[in-house]
Symmetry: D2
Subunit: 319 residues, 4 copies
């Protein structure tokens, strides 16, 4: 291979820039040129490319977001869109691709390989941690630290007022963020889609805290009961409790990546380039038990990654 491309797609995640940097530096060290595709699959179809060298990737390791931008493309969902993209890639001499994103990104990558036979290796770039085939995704560690620091601030107020606060964290399909953040903030109650949420238990917990004591409730946005506003409404209607609501929202996506995310992003960048050179394709490079591991793209979204048992137990014992 003489030239590969890298792009980021779907929701942005802290560490994507560290990942791009690693792909570029690793490829250059092997004599391979790197093209950056700007704006994900849309940019691929439009041929919105840029050359990436050491200079373009200097001083980006600590930056949140992605210098290659990201987007969601309806056109690429069509076979014609993918064919158009492949034409642009071939015209630019691109022989392999590193695709950093979540399950939407991998659906596209899988189809591109399937139909167009352009080698493509995925890397898990999403704050949600909901991809099978890797212990952690790039951006997850930063997101849970950002959320925890925000909730530490809310606890100041909750303690001062002795009230019930309901905080909604991201995670549309999985409760990883809510569970880790709930344990790390010492929340009194954690609601995640993976376990049944018992509102009577929540009510008992609030009572147990006693008058003038705070109760912090962490709700993963995908919980079957609903989001934080739904919780507040139920608490008011059924239990006559006035709770305050905070939806952390997009602050969880941004910010300078943590060490874990920078190192993971860097390591997976090197691994993805190596994989392309070894002829691998249609797989995601992940990290399991500190070892690099490759998983067929299709399995990353068809197989379910469960929340670690020990976290669920910790939440039970310690909250």
């Amino acid at each position: 291979m003489k030239k590969i491309a890298v792009f980021t797609s779907g929701g942005d995640a802290p560490g994507m820039n560290a990942h791009i940097r690693a792909v570029v530096r690793s490829a250059l060290s092997k004599g391979i040129e790197v093209t950056g595709i700007i704006g994900g699959y849309s940019g691929m179809i439009e041929g919105n490319f840029m050359n990436l060298g050491r200079k373009e990737t200097a001083n980006i390791i600590a930056l949140g977001g992605t210098i290659l931008k990201t987007s969601r493309s309806k056109e690429f969902l069509q076979k014609g869109g993918r064919a158009a993209a492949a034409d642009k890639l071939r015209a630019a001499g691109i022989e392999g691709i590193v695709a950093c994103g979540g399950d939407g990104t991998f659906h596209g990558a899988h189809a591109l390989w399937d139909e167009q036979k352009i080698p493509i290796v995925g890397t898990p770039g999403t704050i949600d941690n909901d991809l099978y085939g890797t212990d952690f995704t790039i951006g997850y560690d930063t997101a849970i630290n950002t959320a925890t620091q925000a909730i530490d601030k809310i606890r100041d107020t909750a303690d001062s007022h002795g009230r019930v606060f309901i905080v909604e964290v991201m995670g549309r399909h999985a409760g990883f963020i809510a569970m880790d953040v709930g344990v790390s903030t010492g929340a009194e109650f954690i609601a995640v889609p993976e376990t049944v949420t018992n509102l009577d238990e929540l009510y008992q917990r609030i009572l147990a805290q006693g008058k003038q004591q705070r109760t912090i409730v962490i709700v993963g946005e995908g919980d079957e009961v609903g989001g934080a506003n739904t919780f507040a409404q139920i608490l008011k209607d059924q239990y006559e409790i006035n709770a305050k609501v905070t939806i952390l929202g997009h602050i969880q996506r941004g910010g300078s990546p943590t060490v874990r995310d920078r190192v993971l992003a860097s390591r997976l960048g090197v691994a993805a380039v190596d994989a392309l050179l070894e002829g691998k394709t249609d797989v995601m490079a992940g990290e399991i038990n500190s070892e690099i591991s490759f998983t067929e793209l299709e399995k990353t979204w068809t197989k379910k990654k469960p929340i670690q048992d020990y976290l669920i137990n910790l939440a039970d014992v310690l909250t």
Copy 2:
């Protein structure tokens, strides 16, 4: 005077603990004992008091929230509640009070003095900065820095996606936070209750940014158009623009205070004790142009503190 009391009331604000520490240390250095009233006016009525010495106030200067807790008391709004509180204060030998909070706190303090003639000096403790008689309130500097850091993170995502983000910051009656935060984050549009919000201008601004460029809109919660969700709805209905909404909420109240807030809180603590000793009462201790200044409590809420002209001009020139 041999004994004074201090309490915090209304919404908590970063720096309240530094303030309590300063009141205690300053009083002790003058041979005066200090009683802490727990839970604001409710605690005053209940006689929920604690002794505050050097030990109780060690290592609190950096803590958010308030170790004396805070609350809103309906009972104290009644003359009978205030009489009951005064009885408790007198029984405990309290000869003067430092009341840290916002305009609700000061209404109560004014009535207490008026009816019960217990000397009381207010100090401005609120993140909103909406009190006449001081350039800045305790907690404001921390709140705008917290909000700015949060929006810096959102900008990572906004840039990566090239989208419109509407961020709502606190300030029910005043746009100080929104204006300072808007200027400091380089927002493209700032909506505050003090100026007329022109939605067509916002629309033009979004167009001017061009395709795939982010637009960040800062909305003060008291803006006459409504909150961030209202803005998003209007943008969708009238201009067919899909904007993302984040309501920063209670994270703005918490966190370790900035240097400015710790120093201001400390200085006003010392000033309030001095004022009580000099026989002052029914006034708020504030800081204007770096000098300590006293303002009748009633004026702190009847007079309007305007947003600084230069900030409004900066927003015009630089956004």
Copy 3:
């Protein structure tokens, strides 16, 4: 068992408070009382004990340092000191101990078990990560993030001035911190005791950066060449390069723990209590590949934990 004790010893590490909280809550949930020993082995000899309940451990999960304080005790190095300590422990009805610290702590714990047969389980509490038997120690993740954030700030200045900066990080006997921090900050050169430091290579690297480009050098304090000041002296004497030196020092020990540290500290707290109940003693509870693992105390300091190969490779490819 009806009563156990917990203490922290050696250098303090972020997460120790989360650990204490978990030991207490876990024990209480099993009907066991918990005594806190204040000031490590010195406090043990003096019988400086306190009862630890839910209240004493509320709101400490996010705090740096250790509420039980820590110290280094010469007396405990003597058999007589350990006998005196054991007497105090027995008199207080303590039937098992959780000892959180580093290798010095474990030496003492091992001797205490050996001579006095009081069951004791160690937990790895040190920012240095240099204990065999656990992938990570409590405090390490916070320390590397604190160091990385500090170096991100130094990079601002290094870039602005285009100069050589030498930053010394902690790690007297091991280069874990230096290696992780070097990779995560994108440093141009990393010196650790585990690998041979080649100063000519450093010189070439500085030259390769070119005029007016910054070079950041991370030096682990245990490097065989010496600390940052030695590096600077050699660069000046042998290569006529003026470098700036920063020794990060004790800021690396403090601060609110990261999510990883809070969760690890919590998990190991629960595991240590379980281990005591199962009759385990003279072992350290650690985490290897996400599983709880027990290692004889003696092995934790006699066996050497190597820096992960992939980190060394990443440093080679990416710096």
Copy 4:
């Protein structure tokens, strides 16, 4: 005027980028082009210029350091160097200059005006706050917050160990940083060049803290006794006290600017452009009591700005 230039010089300071952005946007809004001089006076002599538009200054408001880099130039200290610089400026059509830096920068600016009659307005960009003619300099607020946050971390360890910690902060000629940081961290002792440092008093203070209590000593690097290492040596030699030393160093210069620094930097950027247009030269634009104020460059370094009395009093009463 049709074209002006802006540059940064001396030590970098957080907020310099926000300042550059404001100069550019303000000038553009008045139809004036802006040239950026790269690398301070060296770049001026070399004609190292770049055009600065909206695009070049987008997304830099939150960045530490300076995109225009900075340096110290020996050549510019000579009349010949300044003449060469003036030639380059005239050749590029530059009719006025904004010079952001400290007293070294202003010496150069004054000489350039004096000899070459190119209009030049200075702006105070230094973390040291030691310029007469402005209440605060750009970068100062960020530096004191960075130092305070670092010392908050050190306090975790100091409390856990009950030891004496000596922390040296920047400020070669003035004690502003030390004084503000000392008050805001609740330090037990503060040493600044502006007041006589009494080591016996320090010793008494350490004794008063009692056994196993921490003592934090803040030393401004310009103190007449010497730096933190000198303090530690004296404590050891004369009083047999082992103290730990931390020199905060260059982390104080970097990092994302606080709101105060961003707003001040923006405001002074607009003011400097206005001043050039009004024909002002050989002056510094500063802010005194919230109003823009102009001071002859020469006075900024010949007149001494004292530490505020109230800060010194606060330190006395509260430490």
